[in-house]
Symmetry: C2
Subunit: 247 residues, 2 copies
DNA sequence: CGGACAATTGATCTACCTCAAAATTGGTGG
DNA sequence: CCACCAATTTTGAGGTAGATCAATTGTCCG
């Protein structure tokens, strides 16, 4: 059963886990022999929906995704943004009913892994279980930081903070460097992630541009003044709990 | 080693876990023989602080606690509210540096359990590990719902939503009933949890009172119109992932 | 080249904030 | 039991960050 592309996809998972914990050869082998099914989705496609009871998790190989909730008259809150290497619905392993939806933000390549196989894996290897658990805990840490933003930071600070976060997360998986990173999402998406209006996001971006803090063109974010951005948002990367990762 | 009161405290943990999963006699025994140290704290005392590297977790036996972050000029965001049966810093088992603080909101009785013992426990009993993991996942689900509130709900809806949540959580552990529950925290605390100002919270409460939705006296919340509160906040309890718990 | 979507701008509005003071409550000691 | 203090709650007046509504412009892509 030659699954060359899928094997490659799992090596992404191996790398991810190795950034958290040490893997024995046996553990590495077990991960690499997980059954996976890769699929490419267009932008803005739901992957799992609020209320679903999924039987698999999805590893992002390429592209961006987000978790979100809809309320009332078409209001949307984006809960988290996910990039290559993330498993945004890992929680569904232990929480059977989805309390939110998961969708692509861009065209994306996803690897689906059955819950069953993951359950076997974590039962056999407590070290892997701990690494996965930790992963969901870092997820929660990011939720907390976003809560602080929405509850207590101005729009300006919030946007600056998100840019710092995204840059560091992308850098950690080798997708950014030199204070420049992809940002392939619309201002409406940004607004929904920040609890703002797209109009207001636009005005704040204009202001930042005017101050020479950042530029934003053709889906690329260039941070002209990293220190300024850090200061403006009182950014402290501790909550990302990034360990030195191999790029 | 007669530790009568502490043994009692662990039975609270047993009950909690049994609401999530089935425990074998051996597992129950292992939990009940965890070493614990109970302590009583006054209101508004820090339990763990942002930046700390704790070596124990704390189980709330009685009273209320909250997790919070401070930013800028004395701004505080409360991230979660915790009641008896909760282990608010369970995440510290796998995330070594605290990215927020934990404090009492009222006088509270806490049982401290060493990380070491918990690590041994979850290594020996994968079922218990899964139950703890799930606990932290429900935690994250509550964070997500609060994010939706702060990002997309009005002050009125947010307050109504929080009241629904607290009532159900208290009821689930037998601390509330008949649409009446303790609410032993100040309006400043409420405001910091909701991303609002105490002044504004006060005005919205007045409005709710005027509509006969709720009354709030001597640290007790009485929900006069449960359905009205549900409607006003578009409350859907799914995210609490409450399983039927023995009271 | 046309069509759809995204970014930008203008004008106006309002939910919630800020500052400040007064009223109420609950706990404490005499 | 009362008087007093500190912490809360409540109310008032005025200000502002960000929302809303409605065009207009720019961009990408088939």
């Amino acid at each position: 059963m030659p699954w060359a592309p899928d094997d490659h996809s799992l090596s992404m998972l191996v790398r991810r886990l190795e950034s958290i914990t040490h893997l024995s050869d046996e553990e590495r082998q077990a991960i690499l022999s997980l059954p996976v099914k890769a699929r490419v989705l267009k932008a803005n496609q739901d992957i799992v929906r609020d209320g679903d009871k999924p039987s698999q998790c999805c590893l992002i190989l390429d592209g961006w995704a987000c978790r979100y909730k809809l309320i009332g008259e078409g209001k949307r809150q984006i809960l988290s943004i996910h990039i290559a290497g993330d498993i945004p619905d890992l929680q569904s392993l232990h929480i059977h009913t989805m309390d939110h939806s998961l969708a692509t933000l861009t065209e994306a390549t996803l690897a689906f892994i059955p819950h069953e196989s993951l359950h076997e894996l974590v039962l056999r290897f407590p070290g892997i279980a701990a690494a996965f658990w930790r992963d969901t805990l870092v997820d929660a840490a990011v939720f907390r930081e976003w809560m602080v933003g929405m509850g207590r930071r101005s729009a300006y600070e919030r946007i600056a903070h998100l840019f710092c976060e995204l840059y560091l997360r992308l850098e950690a998986v080798g997708l950014a460097g030199e204070h420049r990173c992809p940002l392939p999402i619309t201002q409406v998406d940004l607004a929904d992630a920040l609890g703002l209006t797209n109009v207001h996001v636009n005005r704040v971006l204009k202001e930042m541009r005017g101050q020479g803090l950042v530029t934003l063109r053709s889906n690329t974010l260039v941070i002209e003044k990293w220190d300024g951005l850090i200061q403006a948002s009182e950014f402290d990367p501790t909550y990302l709990h990034l360990t030195k990762r191999a790029a």
